[in-house]
């Protein structure tokens, strides 16, 4: 029973991080119909920037703020300089561009920060709460992780549902040409979408770093896979779906890890992806009807 509880807790926590990362992918997919394969590397470089500040004596919170800000700028710059020229062209072009960006940013991290593993100290205690004489897979830091992801989800939902800029972003995402005819500055909205996504991705990078306690230039690579599966599971168009998909995937993989074996986790994620694509290609929460070709 205790094992089940701990696997569940562990699943919810990794699931929350998958969710944050999936949210970043969804934000970009919604606005530009591109899966940003560079998302992990972008998050990694902002986390390394934060880590350098923290190592030089700044607090974790200064590091976090700088990481998020760096994400904002990086996202906007990437959209303007790298993505804009391939937008509206064949979809494969954009995919290849984001893959290229992924490699380039990862190389840049190695050049700037070295390839060695570096310790990342969590902002809160990572020692599990105790119940009786046993310790739970739940610590102050994991509570912080959960809270941060929840806050981002609520914030994004409120932004899209209740604000003018959120409405303009959705209109740009779902009807670019119509939105332009209605006077919406679609280009700006796409830039803003990428910037927001990179902020959320950076947050995910910081949260993961604290959970895994050390970082390398490639520490986010696995996450792009799990984040993508979570996003597809929830429906690439749906922020709520991204979070639910992330949590479900986190739980499932945690049980697989605990009851079946660590080596099957990747395979299980792949199985989820295949099943979703076969049974419900729109994902669990898709709001878009399947478009006719």
């Amino acid at each position: 029973m205790r094992e089940f509880i701990n696997l569940t807790l562990g699943g919810v926590i990794t699931g929350a991080v998958y969710a944050a990362f999936a949210l970043a992918l969804v934000l970009i997919w919604r606005s530009t119909r591109i899966v940003n394969f560079a998302q992990g590397a972008m998050a990694a470089i902002t986390t390394f920037i934060a880590l350098s500040l923290i190592e030089s004596g700044q607090s974790y919170w200064v590091g976090l703020a700088v990481a998020l800000l760096a994400g904002l700028v990086l996202g906007a710059v990437v959209e303007r300089l790298v993505i804009r020229p391939v937008e509206g062209g064949p979809e494969l072009n954009a995919v290849i561009v984001t893959l290229g960006l992924f490699i380039a940013i990862q190389a840049l991290i190695s050049v700037l920060f070295g390839v060695n593993q570096r310790a990342f100290v969590a902002p809160f205690s990572t020692i599990g709460f105790r119940v009786g004489d046993s310790s739970l897979a739940l610590s102050p830091n994991t509570l912080f992780t959960l809270g941060a992801v929840l806050l981002v989800m609520v914030g994004l939902t409120a932004l899209f549902r209740y604000t003018r800029v959120g409405l303009a972003m959705r209109a740009s995402a779902f009807g670019q040409e119509v939105a332009r005819l209605l006077g919406v500055r679609v280009g700006r909205m796409l830039t803003l979408g990428w910037a927001l996504a990179a902020v959320v991705g950076s947050l995910a990078g910081m949260l993961i770093a604290a959970e895994v306690t050390f970082v390398t230039p490639t520490y986010m690579d696995a996450l792009i896979v799990f984040g993508f599966v979570a996003a597809v599971l929830g429906g690439l168009d749906s922020p709520v779906g991204a979070v639910v998909g992330g949590l479900l995937l986190g739980l499932l993989l945690s049980y697989v890890r605990g009851y079946v074996g660590d080596e099957l986790v990747g395979l299980a994620a792949l199985a989820v992806l295949v099943v979703v694509l076969l049974v419900r290609p729109g994902g669990l929460f898709s709001t878009t009807q399947t478009r006719r070709a």
Binding site: A171, F174, L182, G183, Q289
Partner: protein, 270 residues
């Protein structure tokens, strides 16, 4: 006044619509316009690669009038509207809106200058609710009093019932009402409508056209209406422009075009 009779039959669907019509129609008699032009298109040409879709097109939309642009499938009607609103860039010619040359203006700026373009296929954003669709249309104006939305809902009660549903649940006719209502919220000087009759039952087409006529007569709206369905369009329009293979063939009073049998057979298909 042969044309007054022709309009009367469809316009009666919108109640008082026929009343203010008579005087306006009188001015067009003879085919020369007396109402001031809101939109002037001068020598406009456009191409898709080697395909010359528009060649030297000159026409105008007059204040408080419906100008119908008619022609077969592929005549260049959609290209004309897309070039006017900047979605397609012209190879030659000018577009003048309310006296201002807007030929090179960005698409996003057109609506602020007073041009509302309802594209072919209606341009409903299916993923948004009816209410959100309307709100997107007024975003550029900043804060818009809620009475303006209520006026649209009063005029189109069918969509008022569904204001919180996503727009993909609407029928074709309701979608057309939604996009026209959305365009009205932009308070346009000129409304460009691309084939509003497309895919609608004849009864619904008559209803939509009567509503447009009513808006023109009561609100002083100016409309450039593009249609393949020439018979219906001419029955509500004041002026007709016939387009064939990207060129203007003739411009004349709508009733007279409808009465010209040779022209009808050659270009209008009825």
């Amino acid at each position: 006044m042969a044309d007054a009779g022709a309009h009367g039959s469809t316009a009666s669907g919108a109640g008082a619509a026929g009343l203010t019509r008579g005087a306006a129609a009188g001015g067009v008699a003879g085919g020369t316009a007396t109402a001031p032009a809101v939109l002037q298109v001068e020598g406009l040409s456009a191409a898709y690669g080697p395909v010359r879709a528009l060649q030297d097109v000159t026409l105008q939309a007059e204040h408080g009038r419906i100008t119908a642009v008619l022609g077969a499938n592929g005549a260049g009607k959609t290209t004309l509207l897309r070039t006017i609103s900047g979605l397609v860039r012209p190879t030659a010619g000018r577009v003048v809106l309310g006296g201002e040359d807007v030929t090179r203006a960005p698409v996003e700026a057109m609506v602020t200058k007073g041009m509302a373009h309802v594209p072919e296929g209606r341009g409903v954003i299916a993923e948004l609710t009816v209410d959100e669709n309307l709100r997107v249309g007024s975003l550029f104006r900043g804060k818009v009093p809620s009475e303006e939305f209520e006026r649209v809902y009063t005029f189109f009660p069918r969509i008022a019932e569904r204001r919180n549903q996503t727009a993909h649940t609407l029928s074709g006719g309701e979608r057309q009402m939604l996009v026209i209502g959305r365009a009205l919220l932009a308070r346009p000087k000129v409304l460009l409508l691309d084939e509003p009759s497309l895919g609608l039952a004849p009864r619904i087409v008559a209803q939509i056209f009567a509503m447009v006529r009513h808006l023109v007569d009561t609100e002083g709206l100016s409309v450039l209406l593009v249609e393949q369905n020439a018979r219906s369009a001419l029955s509500v329009a004041d002026t007709g422009v016939v387009l064939n293979l990207g060129r203007v063939v003739v411009t004349d009073d709508a009733a007279r075009l409808a009465g010209d049998e040779d022209l009808r057979h050659a270009y209008l298909g009825f």
